[in-house]
Point group: C2
Chain length 555, copies 2
Amino acid sequence: MGKKVIIVGGMAAGASASARLRRLDEKAEILLLEKGEHISYASCGLPYYVGGVIADRRKLFVQTPEAMKTRFNLDIRTGHELTEISPENRTISVRDLSGHVYEEHYDCLLLCMGTMPIVLDWLKPGPNVFSVRNVADSDALRELATVRRIQSVALIGGGPIGLEMAEIFQGLQLETHIVDLADQVLPALDPDMAAHVHQELRRHNVRLHLGSKAVRAEGGPEGIRTLHLENGESIQADLFILGLGLRPASDPARRAGLKIGATGGIVTDEYLRSSDPFIYAAGDVIQAKNFVSGGEYQFSSAVAATRQGWIAAGNIHGLNLPYKGAQSTFIAKAFTQTAAATGLNEKTLRAGGFPHVSIHLSPSSHASYYPGASALNLKVIFDPRDGRLLGAQGVGAAGVDKRMDVLSTALRAGLNVFELQDLELAYAPPYSTAKDPVNLAGYIAGNAVLGLTEVTHWAPALSGAGENGALLLDVRTDKEFSAGSVPGAYHIALDQLRERCSELPAGREIFVYCLSGLRSYVAIRILAQRGFRVKNISGGYLLYQVLTQDGRLSC
Amino acid sequence: MGKKVIIVGGMAAGASASARLRRLDEKAEILLLEKGEHISYASCGLPYYVGGVIADRRKLFVQTPEAMKTRFNLDIRTGHELTEISPENRTISVRDLSGHVYEEHYDCLLLCMGTMPIVLDWLKPGPNVFSVRNVADSDALRELATVRRIQSVALIGGGPIGLEMAEIFQGLQLETHIVDLADQVLPALDPDMAAHVHQELRRHNVRLHLGSKAVRAEGGPEGIRTLHLENGESIQADLFILGLGLRPASDPARRAGLKIGATGGIVTDEYLRSSDPFIYAAGDVIQAKNFVSGGEYQFSSAVAATRQGWIAAGNIHGLNLPYKGAQSTFIAKAFTQTAAATGLNEKTLRAGGFPHVSIHLSPSSHASYYPGASALNLKVIFDPRDGRLLGAQGVGAAGVDKRMDVLSTALRAGLNVFELQDLELAYAPPYSTAKDPVNLAGYIAGNAVLGLTEVTHWAPALSGAGENGALLLDVRTDKEFSAGSVPGAYHIALDQLRERCSELPAGREIFVYCLSGLRSYVAIRILAQRGFRVKNISGGYLLYQVLTQDGRLSC
């Protein structure tokens, strides 16, 4: 026999690692422990299973323990939980379903225990209180939602799973509430991009309780009925779903004295080796390196976990493969909209004091004359000193996943915004435009880095404008302007600007906007070359409307 | 006034250049000449307009000369054609619609005349013979196809426009023929990927005449009726569409003594300046640099033309921006399938003697348990010495455009196949899989570069297999094998391979296949570690079936 490797956890990281290790080494003795009933099942598909989008329950099980055992010659034990690690003896204690505890020796240990849901002391899982963590939860929820006649649901936490569940429950005609402590859903997005998602949720009658802390629950023997918020409001519901976030399931590692990071994840070196030389760790249980910032953070991701599992297995086999870090790529579907992000967001950059500028655009997902095109709201963040790409976010009905994947790839390759201009992306009318939205983002950002335009944003523009401040200039058409505009804005349609620019004050700063930012850029160039001090308001009137409806601008 | 710049050609490159130049320079005198009636119209949308997918003719006109004149303060003259250039005098001769010829002086000239269709001496445009080059052609075709009761059409040339037209005419219930001199459609693809497109065309009853030279046409006063092929066959049709390719419209440049390349395009330096210091050129009229090979070639692309126009305008203004080259990114829709490519294909690499290896895969476009998933056929080509990405091709019903754009970006950034493994792409079940198809391609190719598997292909595998040659080994399940297999293949299901590998000959080479290549890779690892000499047949039985149906394998 070869060396004995124990892999703890049979989801993304552990399953990926055990298969890879066997492909590299037919001789190794590989023991895969999983505390649950299933391995490598489609945990990301659970919400869709609850809602019936995935009708066949068997489709959730990508791998069965039996099939994987046979194919990869593994010793797989489901219902077996790691309780203690003894690094000095290179042994672990394992508890099986009957409660029996036994020891196993390892030559090498790989920890892939993933995460645990964050819980509330006062709202424990119960007959009508659930998390959506495993197949058993989902079976129970599916039964509740589709067979029994419940009428309303409160989702505590507005993360991706919360939104997927909201879509599903709305589809089942339930009154649906989302409660979140933050003043936005989808924390990976900045508030200005989350505002697009809020608009979509409200359009589908989801009741949002944002910036709201749930503090107390009330109910009877048959379950919770009322959720009280700190602001005095209360929500009546038949079903409560907990989605408060996840924490690394690193407790046994901590007790064994392995180094644990500030985020609660196991600290590893770049080869995914923990502070003990015979113990590796991979997946959501580790504290990951952020590829873009270089910092350490907690990041739950099936993509990163799968990659880390693959790398850890290689390193256990003696290869020397570094894991280069995670970059927070995320995507979620919310009704007709897709929201996605990659890299650092502005909240993080601001908190870390990193120099950054963001630009917004809303181009067409593909040629506007070809059926099915829709506006794609993009935000791209870069370093104003050299144009290095730092992060991107997108919300829209079509083509968001494609652009975010292109931007993820560009970010990974270390491209700057000028290099986004050079990308030669696939264009035919059903797919894109001759300048793809990613190219356009590169042009807008590149012009800002070169000083051809200066970018401002709605909040500073509105607080900086006024009689003693800057002039707000609207360059849309007469028709657009009269249909609705920003209070106090002066209006000159772009096509009259050259002949009417004498109307503008010579010394005063001018903040220009149009619908989305294209015409205002032309206006900026006309005015700047005539000596005016001008800034382009990123996102234009489209973003103004979304932010206003979301209560994010006071004017 | 500032300097006088004349831009010749008002489509992608010329329109992009004139707007950019004005944004940079309010003082320049800019004259835009266009020989046609329209500028910057949606030429890529013409086939969809013919078919009625785009119902509103006005949607084709992205820009009108009047609107662009006003917005960018340009002197735009449509119906004015460049006839001669006199570099010594810095003048050009222009002929207007009335036939009047006049001279214009320039300080700087930018040539963006695009391409001319390649024509046949014996099949001139006529009442039922068309190219699809401009709005007038399309108006006539639309009338013929939708109003008059024609019954059949022959498309001469199987390029992207030919395929778009085939889809449209099939939708109108016409008997549709495609004739091409090459033994495949879509020359940007390799034959093994074009085979997927042929399958789709045949499934929709398009009659393919490939490897067929059209040599003679016959008809009466009301039009052509019969097309004769060199092989003796003939095609009866009511309508003939010419799509034989394009050549640079560089004749005036050639007559003026500007340097013209082997492809017929105007030669420029990397700043898009021609051999005359006061003349720039951009768009399909130039001989482009290939970013991947470093060679020069003819490449018609609205994306590249737009980018070149933008860069040339910057350089005319005195910026010093290099154009870094084109990379042959292409995409076309063929019925339910999308076909796309980027970079170098195998035909080109083989012809140029570049070392390369290609791999094929057919993963799911997104999580297979989520509705709408379909097989995505990918081919990725790389340098076996260091894994540098050289090109990629894809055909499938969903997600092809996204993966090709990711691969285009990776190619542009100079990534190798190992770096494709690291890409952190957006995953949720409606969008992708935890290992995205691009990651999977990186894993397969990376394993080949590292020697964990050796890749072979169907044609060499079939000619190398046999009693005195290699053994063909099928590792699919019993059920799959009995439903159809490759003649002469030995069968051991993967899950029995460890116990049955003594059945295999020790010294003989073994070529392994499964359905798509995943299980055969596991088999390769099992066998290689036991000392067998093994190769993986790229693309598996899926590709075998497609190639066999396309008549590309003799066995």
